[in-house]
Symmetry: C2
Subunit: 565 residues, 2 copies
């Protein structure tokens, strides 16, 4: 079901009920774009990976959020499903919230457009959201204003510091004072003052407070896109307090609207339900950052916070690529997983739409609509869960009560693009696979992939993961050659080599010799030199191969086939 | 008339004709957003201003371009008008062009949405563009590929460097070799190989070139969003060359489509027609950067290049705020200018739409549709031009031949938000108004506006333009107090003061003590501390006033009423 700002309020109670009655929730997001794919180094640690994804979350937006709620119905042994597809965009802006700049990526926009994504709907009817810190900020501004109003109307003191009025503005101010004085002699309730700029308005405010204390109050209002001052006669203290209170409540109600979609995530958190996503690292981090609390700078702090919020997180990309499933599921791209788990030895459990029109069917083929992808993810998960149960010869009803079957896959976020099977373990220590066969190499700026390949050729093939123009991680295909490679290559004036672990220690220790990722995002379209362009291509492939021609091909397809799904 | 990728090609000859027959062209752009307003310092030099606008151009997109062509028709003494409203978006992406990331600003998107801007149309049917350097880049890639194909099919050498095939991939490669061998024995023309990842494809390419030299060629093709290899039997050299040539021509034709809207700008440049814009600095810089040639890093180089491209540029915001007009035109916001020049002592010349449906009328009220705003700009310009002519008692026909009337306003770009009437003079030296009454002040981090006001209070009011948390430019209202202020305030351990000109010399001289603009754009939404937030507000107002409460008000209205129009 499509949810926008038009029907969000009305649907929220139903959504709450559905979440609370669910067995688990599958989620999926669509973004305005991402840099991550191009910024990850194949030999990043989970911590480094986190920092890059975090940065990405700060720059791009979630523009669609899919939640598919699956409920096991013991009465007929079938799953019931409801899915929601939320359009997410924070609008309109007001003075309590910064006017956000966000990045878009052309290919993402292009892709979503080709899939029929409705950007007009997004921008016009997207649902707002505020994370906790934004909400606090917003609330403080409202409360400050209320205090200010209270002070003003309890009106103890007149302004102690006064701006000097520039000579050329004095006549304007004098004219306004005359108008106000005349206004006091009329029966009129309000007087609109002539349009003037913000500085003059400020001077008029200040002068009015001096000259018409307890007689006139001013307010700035919008008139036909202009800001003008409106004077009204001073009311009784009680009357004024009531007005202030009404204004305050109105502002609080607008704040409540702004919180919007965040309420759904809070319900999810409170429900403690398992959330399931496919390749969900980015979705999960965005979820926390945008709708709950800004992602912590420190990796450990993030893990702690994330686990405190979500006790049961399951990534079907991690699950499907685990030892148990990897031989049965050749490709872990979502649609391929669905294909694999739809046939023997798997058996897709029966899933029915709970209420007509509120869910999806596989044949809807709305790939990359967040709600649909969430639904497909849920299906894949169910089939794998079912498979684990049948291995233990459990009955359907027993399988879907038995969360312990899922234990090995819980709270592990798949980290794509890394060379070894790393993951983020939200509930404990991350794995720490040996990278003893990996070296940190620095070299002259004019080195190309060939030079590195050649350097290591006595020890077999290598995988080169560029860091910048003068450094790279180099992984040996033949791990057993590591010691001899290091001792043979240690002495040189041209390049330097060190073990991966020593390099990591160096990075931890503090200010390093700028291991900047070479592929900065190309906001700046100024063309690079040809040489750097060629290296660029290599980088995008993080290729093992020295040939320029095919490298480009490789680049493109690598990104395409292994895209963030 | 609305122009998208659907009708662009067909309309281009007409557009060329209209441009070439015009008396002048009015232009206007809509952007995905801007940072400039918040980044300009009221005491920036034109050079510093340029650098900030340049950065802005690299980050944001032009999403709509309006051109309104005005032609004076001596036969009836009336102007004829045709207007075009181009949707601009570079799509689809391909491997010859980087996948661009661009910034959007929520308030801009919001505003455009509220005005009915069709983002779906933009993303689906926007017209592409390439500046010169992007085109060269693109062309080189096509030519490289063609060379590569020629080499491959002239087939002199087999690959000299070969990647080792990892053990686990060897069976896959062997299987493919067997399939290829079988394929050679059939009458089939093509063979689709099984889907495999980019690395394996690369190995297959290499092995095929070795084992089936002169027998089989491989190509990577798209099939249902996957990339697969397609084998075909080797053809005669001539046949192969013809195929190569066809491929090359197809790629060149796609390049030609990508150049798209750039062709219109090239026609404008070649025509040498006067271009007129309102507050056009941003539009003008974007025009050059996006559609012609990347903006030079050096300010002087930019001026030279810009003037070489456009000999006659007229900014109606500069014109309407000049001494000649400033008493007649109170506000230089576009709609206010139109209102002013529509009544006595102005007389709006008669303007007719040249062909039905291809122009605007004032009453269309499509404010902030680029084509409409360009049209309104043209009208304002015409009325001011006419006024200058009537002052000299020229006849209508004579006025609109007499470009010399416009001489004082030519090639001067209005620089909004600066404290003194600075402008960029494209055709010569910029004005260099005295800033002897301005000081560069550095101070402790905990200083607030109050501290500065107080410090200078013996010398009258001041205008404070914050640079960062510990420095600001301070302008005296009473300019004659400058010398005494400097000598009185020179000695302190708490703060330092220097003249504006000395500070500029320092900045020119090289690495400065980080005069970073304090208000970095808030891509990162992590909340700032309260103290910094309060200072933030001051900054946005660049206010003269010390009071926190009204300052926020001021901020908002300042930006609104003086928005980039």
């Amino acid at each position: 079901m499509e949810v926008t700002s038009s029907n969000f309020k009305e649907l929220l109670p139903e959504i709450e009920d559905v979440i609370n009655k669910s067995t688990f929730l599958a989620i999926d997001c669509e973004f305005s774009g991402l840099n991550v794919v191009s910024e990850i180094n194949a030999f990043d640690t989970p911590k480094q990976y986190y920092e890059k994804v975090r940065k990405n979350c700060k720059e791009f937006l979630v523009i669609q959020y899919g939640i598919s709620a699956f409920r096991f119905d013991p009465s007929d042994g079938k799953f019931k499903q409801r899915s929601y597809n939320f359009y997410i965009f924070r609008r309109p802006i007001n003075k309590n919230i910064p006017d956000q700049r966000f990045l878009c990526q052309t290919s993402s926009i292009n892709f979503l457009t080709s899939q029929g994504f409705d950007f007009n709907k997004l921008f016009k009817s997207g649902i707002s959201y505020l994370n906790m810190s934004e909400e606090t900020d917003y609330r403080e501004k409202i409360e400050d204003r209320q205090k200010l109003r209270n002070n003003q109307h309890n009106n103890q003191q007149s302004p102690s510091e006064v701006d000097p009025i520039p000579q050329d503005v004095q006549p304007v101010v004098d004219d306004v004072l005359q108008q106000l004085s005349d206004f006091l002699d009329t029966d009129n309730v309000e007087l609109e003052l002539p349009k003037c700029n913000a500085f003059v308005r400020r001077l008029i405010y200040q002068t009015t407070a001096q000259k018409f204390k307890n007689k006139i109050t001013l307010q700035t209002k919008n008139r036909n896109k202009d800001r003008i001052l409106v004077a009204s006669k001073f009311k009784s203290k009680k009357e004024q307090q009531e007005i202030d209170q009404r204004l305050f409540e109105e502002e609080m109600s607008v704040l409540d609207d702004f919180i919007g979609f965040t309420k759904v995530l809070r319900i999810v958190v409170d429900s403690g339900k398992m959330i399931v996503g496919h390749n969900m690292c980015l979705d999960f981090l965005h979820t926390i950052d945008k709708f709950l609390t800004p992602l912590a700078k420190e990796y450990d702090e993030f893990k702690e916070c994330a686990h405190a919020l979500f006790k049961n997180v399951l990534d079907t990309k991690f699950m499907s690529s685990s030892d148990e499933f990897k031989d049965l599921i050749q490709s872990t791209v979502l649609k391929d997983v669905l294909e694999a788990v739809s046939k023997d030895p798997f058996q897709l459990p029966t899933v029915e739409i709970e209420d007509a029109g509120q869910g999806y069917r596989v044949e809807d083929l709305k790939e990359h609509e967040a709600g649909y992808d969430a639904y497909i993810t849920g299906l894949c998960f169910l089939s794998m869960w079912n498979y684990l149960g049948t291995l233990k010869e459990l009955s359907t009803a027993d399988i879907f009560k038995d969360f312990s079957l899922l234990e090995p896959y819980l709270n592990k976020l798949y980290l794509m693009m890394l060379r070894d099977s790393q993951y983020i373990n939200l509930a404990g220590q991350d794995p720490n696979p040996s990278r003893d066969h990996v070296f940190y190499l620095t070299f002259p700026r004019d080195w190309r992939l060939n030079n590195i390949i050649e350097l290591f050729s006595p020890f077999g093939g290598v995988y080169v993961a560029w860091i910048n123009e003068t450094s790279a991680y180099v992984g040996l295909f033949k791990r057993e050659q590591a010691a001899v490679a290091l001792s043979t290559l240690s002495q040189s004036d041209t390049y330097s080599i060190m073990t991966y672990s020593r390099r990591q220690a160096q990075l931890e220790d503090g200010p390093s010799p700028a291991p900047v990722n070479r592929r900065k995002r190309t906001l700046d379209n100024t063309p690079r030199g040809t040489a750097s362009k060629k290296r660029q291509t290599v980088l995008e492939a993080e290729s093992e191969t020295p040939k320029k021609c095919a490298r480009k091909e490789l680049t493109k397809t690598f990104v395409e086939s292994d895209a963030w799904d």
